[in-house]
Amino acid sequence: MSKKYIGQAVTRHDAHDKAMGRIKYTDDMCDKGALVIRVLHSTVANGIVKKIDTAEAEKVPGVVRVFTCFDLKEKHYFPTAGHPWSTDPHHQDICDRLIMTDRPLFYGDDIGAVVAEDEVAASQALRILEKSVEYEELPFVLDAQEAMEEGAPLLHENYPNNVLAHTEIHMGSVEEAIKEPGLTKVEGWYETQPVQHCHIENFICYAYGEGDRTVVVSSTQIPHIVRRVIGQATGMDWGKFRVIKPYVGGGFGNKQDVLYEPLTAWISIQLGGRLVKLDVPREETFICNRIRHAIRYHITSWMRPDGSFAARTFKAWCNNGAYSSHGHAIAAKGLNAFPQLYPCDNIDGETWTVYTNRSVAGAMRGYGMPQASYAFECHAEDCARAMKMDPLEFRRKNLMPVGYYHAFSKNELYSDTFNQCFDKGAEIIGYYDKVRKYANQTGDIRRGIAVSTFWYNTAVYPIALETSSCRIVMNQDGSVQFQLGETEIGQGADTAAAQMIADTLGIPFDMVHPVSCQDTDVTPFGTGVYASRGTYTLGFSIRQTALLLKEKVLEAAHQFTRMPVYNLDLVDGIIVRTTDGRELMTIGELALAKLYTTDGSQHLTAESTYQIKSNAYSFGCCFAEVEVDIPMCRVRLLNIVNVHDCGQVINPILASGQVHGGQSMGIGYALSEKLLWDEKTGRPLNNNLLDYKMSSFMDHPRLVADFVENYEPTSAYGTKGLGEPPACPVAPAIRNAIGQATGLYINELPLSPHTLFREFTDAGLINDPWAEENK
């Protein structure tokens, strides 16, 4: 296989249509005659719906139907996580949701729905309906650790103390190890906050009847999983639903959950298959879709005088919100990473995933690793300081070494990735000069620089099924269409896949056309995109399928050229005789001849499934340089550099785009974003883009992305995960840089001015007229 297109910055296939504004997203495809659904959400954080009087709302002109939780005659509890199904009941996701519930568990839970002819009528009716709900209010709990206390309100009967799951790991003996003389103990609490994905296209779907089935068009990352879950939620056969995924305006994991597809499909069925649309307003996207888990960590390390770890303990409390969604998987990923990133012989770790009366947490770019990386890398910095070591040298000494093998996942670190990334990043940002220059500053305005790394692995093997299917269909002119279950959601998966196909099959890139929109009726089965699995997993099925097709092509070429197949090859669209390099015919001539020949006409297609039984580490690092205005309690991010090893870079411009996006999300996570709830009422406080602000253009410095490319030996194309890793190391790098500037290492997020004010005041860095009172 030649590498003509892999590694090239080819233009993404959809860029032209996106620049023209003619790409169709879900709402653009929906007929304007669709009935509008608005969801009635609970306005209590925990309670029982006693009664909903629908009479007044039904009187609003334009209202078609009002549904309430009491209209749901059959209760089919269903899971929502975009996980592959497991045939083992013990490994299936928790089924704890209903299409509508009379037992709301968070402010915003779904208790009914209005269907109207237009948006205005639906909104008017909804406003009336909200006032006609009678609740029995129950006490609620918002904090994970408080939810575990005796006497805390219980959310789900089968989960005592609200613990959805609790897992532990033990290696060696911490108890024995800490008896070693001369150890330094370093201990810290690290607190991360809930944030939201904020893809610019809100979640939207619509449904209509077709024959005896229901078609659901949805802005989702996981169409095949959505179909299964709608089946579960309605108690109907999965094949009764057809799910179509158009272009998606960003997902970031929120759309790796089944959101309102079951409700929308159910309503369409209740209305005899009428076309109904649910376009979730931004306010509801914030609190009624999914959010990032807030996780609280406690880490203790015992360090030897040489800076190595003698023993470590780790505890994490993961606030999962009111329903399971992805369940324990996110907390478990952090626990799993702990002993791997900084290996140590003696480790105790445990983690709890806890139900609380907050919005439901699910997958979000990084899947628990931005949180865990914050804790790990704040703690690593704290350990380095305690041992008076340079933080970068400390990491080089203690990080996972080359050749490290993880028995469960069978992952191996094949190359010196960490050091290579550190070296490259340090050189780009000028780390060594600046770290010396910024030491021991005084004055109001100070600068700091720091580094952080993270742990990430690609895809979900061996925890869950990894499978990918691909179909490639050749046209009369030798160009091909291909279909995959791995969805294009903006990351550029289709373009990367097309580059792979062009190289493997041996035809020009512009002859490879992605069928970008998945349709469960025609797209080969696939579980979608998540876990940064796209290029890794689809690579296997693409390579296998393209080789199958190539085999057929060369067999057909044999028919028309009379040459033996082993003397033929397909090179950039030409059938070549390998013995002398002579060009015998073009792929266009061949495809045309094969389709229309009266002697064995054949449509050249190939389709296959590959089940992946490997996984790959995907590491990198982030350097951040900040300026802190101490009296004003403000941080200005001056420079940020991420260096990643995602193996073979398939497309440099798309890859750096992924890194920029992750950095951007990390900047907001570090400095400004936080979803808030009122402690007294459980009501969300800032669920709109006015009060909750992601970093805007002006809040960004130049973003620098670079790569080291160590070909991943387990991979079909040497590549591995990149979508999520860039978001993981940013917040701790910024925290550590602020620490270098000010001497204050702050263990919570975001590092907003008012967090800094409190910390600076407590530390006496700023003029403190409250000092007396605080004592």
Binding site: A19, G21, H660, I667, N688
Partner: protein, 183 residues
């Protein structure tokens, strides 16, 4: 109270049109529903994300918080209007493609409209001014990095500064910028 309607006459993408609209309808709704100009995106409906930006009488507006009836007598341009009769792209659209400034594409139409206003203003913006001029748009995919480059390059080309435009960091892996000076 019953809904109130009004006739609106305006020019959209160079064509004179008239429509009867609900007086409370937003311009976004009118453009999307009545004219199927679906490049005008709905992202927040509070004027914060900029996905719905259109040009009205030469200036960028958030059409989601602009009443359709205010469009009376106005000249409105959407992204569809920037395309030539043979499907030719304007240079700012091409720059978004070339610089990798497009990912999911949902914020793209709005960004291009504001950028179009900027590059056609004949003014040379400093980097800070450019960031400020573009800051009415939110993007969650790109970190704004490649968008910034696309706009800056096109602006310089419009000013005849072709050499300078080429020096703006090349696509893909960016060069490291000079560190900012101390304040």
């Amino acid at each position: 109270m019953d809904k109130q309607y009004k006739v609106v006459h305006c020019t959209i993408n160079g064509k004179k049109v008239e429509r009867i609209v609900d007086v409370r309808a937003s311009l976004t709704d009118m453009l999307r529903n009545d004219f199927r100009l679906t490049s005008v995106k709905k992202g927040c409906e509070v004027g914060e994300c900029g996905a719905c930006t259109v040009i009205i009488d030469g200036e960028g507006f958030n059409s989601c918080i602009y009443l359709a009836v205010w469009a009376e007598g106005k000249e409105i341009w959407t992204l569809e209007g920037l395309i030539g009769p043979g499907g030719e792209l304007s240079d700012i659209q091409q720059a978004f493609i070339d610089e990798g400034a497009i990912q999911c594409g949902f914020c793209t139409p709005g960004f291009i409209m504001t950028s179009w206003e900027i590059v056609n203003s004949g003014k040379e913006y400093t980097d800070d001014e450019l960031r400020k001029a573009l800051s009415g748009h939110l993007c969650r995919c790109t970190g704004y990095e490649n968008i910034f480059r696309a706009v800056k390059k096109t602006m310089l080309r419009h000013l005849g500064k072709f050499e300078e435009a080429e020096k703006v960091n090349s696509q893909g892996i960016t060069e490291y910028p000079e560190p900012m000076p101390f304040k």
